[in-house]
Amino acid sequence: MNGPTVPDGNVTAYPHAPMLALDTLWLYVAGTICNLRCTHCFISCAPDNHSHGMMTLEDVRRHLDDARALGVREYYLTGGEPFMNRELLSILEATLRQGPANVLTNGLLLETGTCRALRAIADASEYSLDVRVSLDGWSPEDHDRIRGPGTFRRAVQGIQALSAHRFLPVVTVTEAAAGVGGDEGRARFLELLRSLGLARPRVKVLPLWRIGAEAARARGYETWERLSSDSVTREGLEALQCSTARAVTSRGVYVCPILVEEPGARLGAALHEALRSFPLTQGACHTCYVTGVTCRT
């Protein structure tokens, strides 16, 4: 197995995130395959990026069995675009039999029939189903510049279709659109969603990780954007999502959902092999620690 890619080659200088408990499992059900090619994507997902492939229902079942034994609390289905996976609804059904699930989507494939099926699957489970839809800006111009022509309108239609089926979608916004951060940007987003007919809008704002496509769009990490052992606290490390989460793709188990393109972040083939502390050598680790972000809903 490759070791983490370390700028100055000295892993011991970096703090380690402890592995406290596996509460959260990310399932890259669509791998890096997406129907969009967003300019800020931290793993450069695209229609032709097959570096991580689709997961089958059988793949997911194997990880769910491991997760049950480990007492996992919640599941996130992501990609790529999860709804491009033809087995997505069956995967979701199997996941929701075991615990609460979140699906992260760009909203483009949320036709009425799909939303109806989602509603039926959600109602049949004793656990919660959250759907998160990405929106990158208040206007089609802002959004489509990042996500591609015509995508704002289709994402909004997807959000409205979910709402029509009694879902309360969480609209996920990145700081790629100017002015999104802070209370004012958040309030403006809530207002936009109300104007689209969502009576109870929910918004989650995420920072940008300067890797993948985003490194080319804006900039990559500077060498100073790294954590050092003397710049962190134990509480801060324990609050990192990698202290309580892992991500699985068709290629194995990774430390977190952000670093699946980082070879050194692959911790094994199965979950039980991946429950160890991790050296925080990456610029992305700096972003997580400094912003206090979690990818959880």
Partner: protein
């Protein structure tokens, strides 16, 4: 570990709702509860934060420390409720600042000394009492996001047959394939976001027949408490607490601290 007789009552977050606490104590005694417990969060939301601890002490209620007692007791800057949304945090801060400013020093000292967890026994079952979860005082255990494998692990990790908690404000219970039980006892402080004005507490009953070897699940009863909520609303207004809080008391629908709700629990509310 103390072994309890047949029936005990468990009160969740009281949030300074002293009329509801009075009514619940009366009701629990009437139903034959020999022992009374409160799982913390005595203050917040409601008026006159000195009233609830006075009542608890007067009636000999055993209290577990909640995040509110940790914060108020140590004069921390915020309530550590664990909200993530700016609006939720703004309202939580209003409630906390009022509570902290109006809690007498003697009670703050008592809050600091409260245990964050307690172990008791009923019908041979090992019961762990905590506020949020056995591993974190402010962890939310909602029904729709606390799946069976996770709860089985909590019971294993903490050597318990039964876990009792509160913190979310919504009561629920799960009996697990192992026979273990996890019960969120609900809250006396505000209604259960269901459009009704009553609040809830939990009665546990040890099986009267069969061996008291812990193999029999405890009887779990969620008890609604009707109380003078209009009097509480009047007191809240007199103290200048937000009208949003008063609305919750008068309608039974949560108006604040909503963003932390999982989808399932949020969908069943009004806001």
């Amino acid at each position: 570990m103390s072994s309890l007789p047949g029936k005990a009552a468990f009160f969740g977050g009281v949030y300074s709702n002293s009329p509801a606490l009075e009514a619940a104590i009366r009701d629990a005694r009437h139903r034959g509860a020999e022992t009374l417990f409160c799982l913390g969060d005595l203050g917040g939301f409601g008026p006159h934060p000195e009233r609830v601890p006075s009542l608890l002490l007067k009636h000999g209620v055993t209290v577990v420390q909640g995040n509110y007692e940790d914060s108020v007791g140590h004069d921390r800057d915020d309530c550590q409720c664990g909200y993530t949304d700016p609006r939720d945090n703004r309202f939580a801060q209003i409630a906390y600042d009022y509570t902290r400013a109006n809690t007498p020093a003697a009670f703050k000292e008592w809050y600091r000394a409260l245990p964050p967890a307690l172990r008791i026994e009923m019908g041979g079952r090992r019961i762990l009492l905590c506020h949020g979860s056995p591993r974190r005082q402010n962890e939310f255990l909602w029904k729709s996001t606390s799946p069976v494998p996770f709860l089985e692990k909590l019971l294993r990790d903490h050597g318990a047959d039964v876990i009792l908690c509160t913190h979310t404000g919504l009561h629920w219970s799960r009996t697990l394939p192992s026979g273990g039980q996890v019960i969120n006892v609900g809250a006396l402080g505000r209604p259960a976001n269901d459009g009704a004005t009553h609040v809830w507490y939990t009665l546990l009953t040890a099986a009267r027949t069969g061996p008291a070897d812990g193999s029999e699940p405890l009887g779990v009863e969620f008890v609604p408490v009707v109380y003078d909520h209009e009097r509480l609303a009047r007191d809240m207004r007199e103290e200048g607490l937000p009208e949003e809080f008063v609305e919750t008391i008068l309608t039974g629908w949560w108006t604040t601290c909503l963003e932390v709700l999982p989808a399932r629990e949020r969908e069943s509310g009004r806001f």
